[in-house]
Symmetry: C2
Subunit: 341 residues, 2 copies
């Protein structure tokens, strides 16, 4: 059998041409697209530019034993559009910076691009440009997304006040349980709710619609996404807002697969709160905005949005359960106890 | 002596705080700066957004035996603003995505940020946000720059026509000669013109002013920067414009240090044309725009701008010397013969 050629056989110019062809004719919203020194796009009239960048690093954020190249391409864009949603914005354009081992098979690069493309279609994001260079080690996909939002419709982290209710989209712990299953040697397709957990680790679904509606309707005082876990998100929104927080353990929407999986080792709350990669949205909602926020809940198309606690004047970040309080478990730490290294 | 703490001792949140403090109070052009899910900025009225991304990878683009952390931070931004200049735009905002080994000393991260900051000041670029994550291997600085340009003032690669003259800023071969000196074990400060060559490898000076003026005055039909060498730049501008090119060897502005250094091994033209990292600008100038282009030359503040050849209807890319033609040497190939790997 003929081996698939490696990207090192093709060279940079051919790789850029390949990406340009794969993403089709230049999108109409671009004055200049892939293949020049830079891309050029007109801003959307009456809006602000919302800018974010985030990278997926092999060995830190993904393991090619657990995720396909398609998964990596999909997730590299998903985690970025999630940040735009957390600002109340709408993602528009992406830049894809790839740092690739020279021995990577061209077919694997194609898989990565296919995964990226499927998330781009789902999020209505246009690939405007990027960069491709060689890696002496890990595969890295570093993505920048440019979105738009109207002035005074931005959801920051620092707008919360004591008494604001905290609302959480979807569920927590699923991605962490899925990764744990994979790391303990799970193979094939897991049964029941764990199947969705593995999917959430590999292909998180960013809450684009909910974030955009919450921004446009000014229904929240603050918002953050859960890239590094609920514990981290609550701590950050509280710290930036100059408040503390109390979270009600009984109210937490644990993913059913996470509840099953983590219960085998004891308490499922701690790993579900500290586990990363959920990409849900956490909102702070002042009492006077509850009517507006009900409109967000009504347009969430079946995604549950659950009240889980509130911001407090007391600066501590606490978890209450069975009438007792304890510190809320911390989030996922990229420079601390990293599950993939 | 107390060892400098490593970034792994600090954790991600403390590192982001450190960067936020280091870059001072939030710039007035940002609605939201460092530390939220995304940055927010108002577009400049009446302009288009110009977007580019480029990464520096340890072991591919730099070697910490030859460059300081300050050099790396400076160059990571310089190579990106050079791309904005090559479009005729003005750089405004940057996002800095850092992928860092956990053992990196905090003082070395500070050095990298200082270097980035010095280029940001020189280019009048504001750090809007970014990302920081752990690397299992090389240090990587991936930068995105957002600039602005007025409609119909964009300098693309594909606008050249047969008969357009090719003009080159500055000189070529300097960065390649500087790197070659370092790789052959040069230590201390080299003498004479080689000193500037080493500086050009470590801290290239992007031609921001010349690119912006050429764009604003519509003085060129096409432009590209020389990140991967003159040979690559000429081939790319010709391929995108559907032309060929002829370059006159006698007209090439070789850096004096490159001429000295490479002459010791034979012909200095080939390594100067194929060597990367020069970050000069190459312009295609139609005959009817020569008056406008003279205005660019007059405002270049001592940077020479030299006619080196022209685009041709014949699709070959050639070098003429002593009345004979040969193929123009190819540029630096990231996936081919890489000088640092």
């Amino acid at each position: 059998v003929a081996a698939s050629p490696s990207i090192g056989d093709l060279g940079e110019a051919a790789l850029v041409r390949r990406i340009r062809e794969r993403f089709g004719p230049q999108a109409s919203e671009l004055a200049v697209g892939i293949g020049d020194d830079a891309a050029v796009a007109a801003p959307v009239r009456g809006t602000l530019d919302v800018l974010t960048t985030d990278s997926l690093v092999e060995g830190i954020h993904f393991d090619l034993a657990y995720s396909t190249f398609e998964d990596v391409g999909y997730k590299a864009l998903a985690v970025n559009v999630s940040d735009i949603a957390a600002m109340g914005g709408i993602p528009r354009l992406a830049l894809l910076s790839l740092i690739l081992p020279g021995h990577l098979a061209v077919s694997d690069l194609d898989g990565l691009l296919d995964g990226f493309s499927s998330m781009a279609s789902a999020a209505k994001v246009t690939l405007a440009g990027g960069n491709i260079t060689r890696s002496p080690g890990p595969l890295i996909a570093d993505v920048t997304v440019i979105g738009s939002a109207r002035p005074r419709r931005i959801l920051r982290r620092n707008g919360g006040r004591p008494g604001d209710a905290l609302y959480l989209t979807g569920s927590i712990g699923g991605a962490a349980a899925g990764l744990a299953w994979l790391q303990r040697g799970g193979s094939g397709a897991p049964d029941g709710p764990l199947q969705d957990c593995v999917a959430r680790h590999r292909r998180p679904v960013p809450r684009l619609r909910i974030g955009a509606i919450a921004g446009q309707t000014r229904a929240a005082s603050a918002c953050i996404d859960l890239s590094d876990g609920l514990g981290d998100a609550v701590a950050q929104i509280a710290a930036e807002s100059g408040t503390g927080a109390v979270i009600d353990a009984a109210a937490l929407p644990l993913h059913p697969g996470a509840r099953d999986w983590f219960s085998a080792d004891g308490d499922p709350i701690v790993p579900s709160v500290s586990g990363g990669d959920d990409y849900e949205l956490l909102f702070a909602v002042p009492r006077k905005y509850r009517g507006r926020f009900r409109g967000v809940i009504n347009h969430a198309r079946g995604i549950p949005i659950t009240p889980i606690g509130e911001l407090t004047a007391d600066r501590r970040v606490l978890l209450t359960r069975n009438g007792r309080t304890e510190p809320l478990p911390a989030g996922f730490a990229h420079f601390g106890s990293d599950p993939l290294l």
